[in-house]
Symmetry: C4
Subunit: 202 residues, 4 copies
């Protein structure tokens, strides 16, 4: 029933690559008034550049995390395909909260926009946690992956989920701090994984 992970990875890679590239479509001169010089308009678009950079980083880290996980897996199954679909749905959805964020970074609704943005990551992190558990339950990890490694990945995923929930709440009162927290947790995720993950040759 199980098959290799090549095709699910290729499909996922495609979705990540497309979602990360669609982000630029939200940056448009029409979003700012056309009065004033072109230079002033380009400068006034800074919330869109910032949201672009932030979400680019978010999707890039998701891609890295997804692949670090898939490197530990030797086979896929129907439940994994479906839960992985939930992860991908989250990834493809990101351009929308990004556009909401960009349009409201300067306005009175910034708290709502950032909370919505962070709330998306709560769902996404939930999907990643579900994917991890589905893989674990289906015993689809490579034989050389020991329980300690899985435990470390699981702790990282749960920590991220908790922090995204916190960031969503913080956003309601201190939106910029919530955004900073989002960057910080991802930098931490990257560092954690960078260190002594056992080398799984492919």
């Amino acid at each position: 029933m199980a098959e290799g992970t090549n095709r699910i990875e290729a499909f996922s890679d495609g979705v990540f690559a497309i979602a990360i590239t669609l982000l630029v479509l939200e940056i448009r001169l029409q979003h700012v008034g056309v009065e004033g010089s072109l230079w002033a308009s380009l400068v006034a678009l800074w919330p869109y550049y910032l949201a672009f950079a932030l979400s680019f980083f978010v999707i890039l880290v998701s891609w890295i995390v997804h692949h670090d996980l898939m490197r530990l897996v030797h086979a896929t199954s129907r439940p994994v395909q479906l839960v992985n679909g939930c992860v991908l749905a989250y990834v493809t959805f990101i351009p929308f909260p990004t556009s909401v964020l960009a349009a409201n970074l300067r306005g009175p609704e910034i708290a709502t926009a950032v909370a919505f943005y962070c709330g998306t990551f709560v769902l996404g992190s939930g999907a990643f946690n579900l994917l991890l558990e589905t893989i674990a339950r289906g015993q689809l990890f490579r034989p050389e992956v020991d329980a300690q490694t899985i435990g470390r990945v699981r702790r990282g995923y749960r920590m991220a989920f908790t922090i995204y929930v916190a960031a969503t709440l913080i956003a309601l009162v201190a939106p910029w701090w919530a955004l900073a927290l989002n960057v910080a947790v991802r930098v931490h995720l990257l560092r954690m994984r960078y260190k002594p993950v056992p080398l799984v040759a492919r």
Copy 2:
């Protein structure tokens, strides 16, 4: 004349991945009035979220079904390339009925929108049935795939086609039931295939 299925699969995978990622472009704040709070606008977009989730599921299941079929095939041919093109045309078309559905889920035209949405699946299912028959006629199934397996796939495809026709008719009088039927048939398709498909190593 025949060649392996690697390249047709890679091309198809790309099309599925892109179509599924384009769905998010239909979700835009401009679709709802800008009066009221941002939160109210985000909530008012629920038909767009629902249509996004529904069509994401539809394309994901189509991708799984497509690959389950291609796993049984050992070679491609010119007719298969063309009929597979019809399947892909159906997949790339889905974002349009999705946007029609989202824009009309709350309005007086919901029956028409859902019928149009379901009607697309009739055409798509027709293309899948045609693909199956083209493969069978060209004797392109792997030698280890027995007639019984092909028969089971064929029955599943024909059942799906019949149900999509029924859903299109039901949509005219009970659109929400038609949408539920669409989800149910796909869950059934996933289950059916999940069970004792003979393992075809790749």
Copy 3:
């Protein structure tokens, strides 16, 4: 200097898959007036469906032709990369003349729109001819590909170029006949190639 064709094919496949999927973005309810029923609007969009189907077929055939050509090639070079870039520029451009065609199929400017649409194929076919000659001049065909096969491909490419020029001129007086000619030449191209091309195993 030469390297295999895997990566240029993967990149080209990506471009073909994306261009063919972007076609649907041109189909929008806003293109027709919102007065009248939804059903009437959906019917009034027929020029957009037709243009979508036509250009989908065009890009699909281009993809098949491109791969039939690349199957005969064993290595790539800098000039091939650049000329292949011209072919891809043509492919990614197609959505624009498609939208021009769709918007004018019913109007008084149909002759201009179809001539512009066909003119794009003249440029595209020119790029394909240039690609063939660049491959031939660089002696990049597989050793088992004999001069007769190359000659047959060349005749096919030149015939297509001539017919696209003719179709562009015909479009100015009989646009629907020009569109029909476009379909006919591609069906012919598919048939020609389908027959006794020597089997080049990969």
Copy 4:
């Protein structure tokens, strides 16, 4: 810690292919007034065609340069993944300065638009230089790549960076010359690399 470069290349290829295909979405009849004939409108879109061709060439050359670099690398690392992400962010961003350029090629703001366009290449070239140094510092070049080759690539990258800075300044007084300089440096880059790069079989 190190793994092969297959997956980072596949992901990068996807991003390049999508960014290059999105360029066409900026060409729209709505950008020019609808008064006058369709033919006049199509002709009036020439700045959009020119910007499309220019940016298509830019992304194509970036793709070639990226792959020429990756051919010399035998493994990836976390820092390489992140810096490569910066290169990809630059590539996906290109459609936006392209649209700014197209909208202002005929207007009084052409100097600002071209400077913004060239300034993007300064950032992009900076990312490429950073990628090169990250690979060098991580000792990820293939063993058969000698210091002389790396030195030649480094000189090419630094020269390109310098010229993009110069082009950005020149754009403020002579925008068309700045655009010409952009094309010239890329033609030079292609030529330089074309010559005696040691053959690294894959």
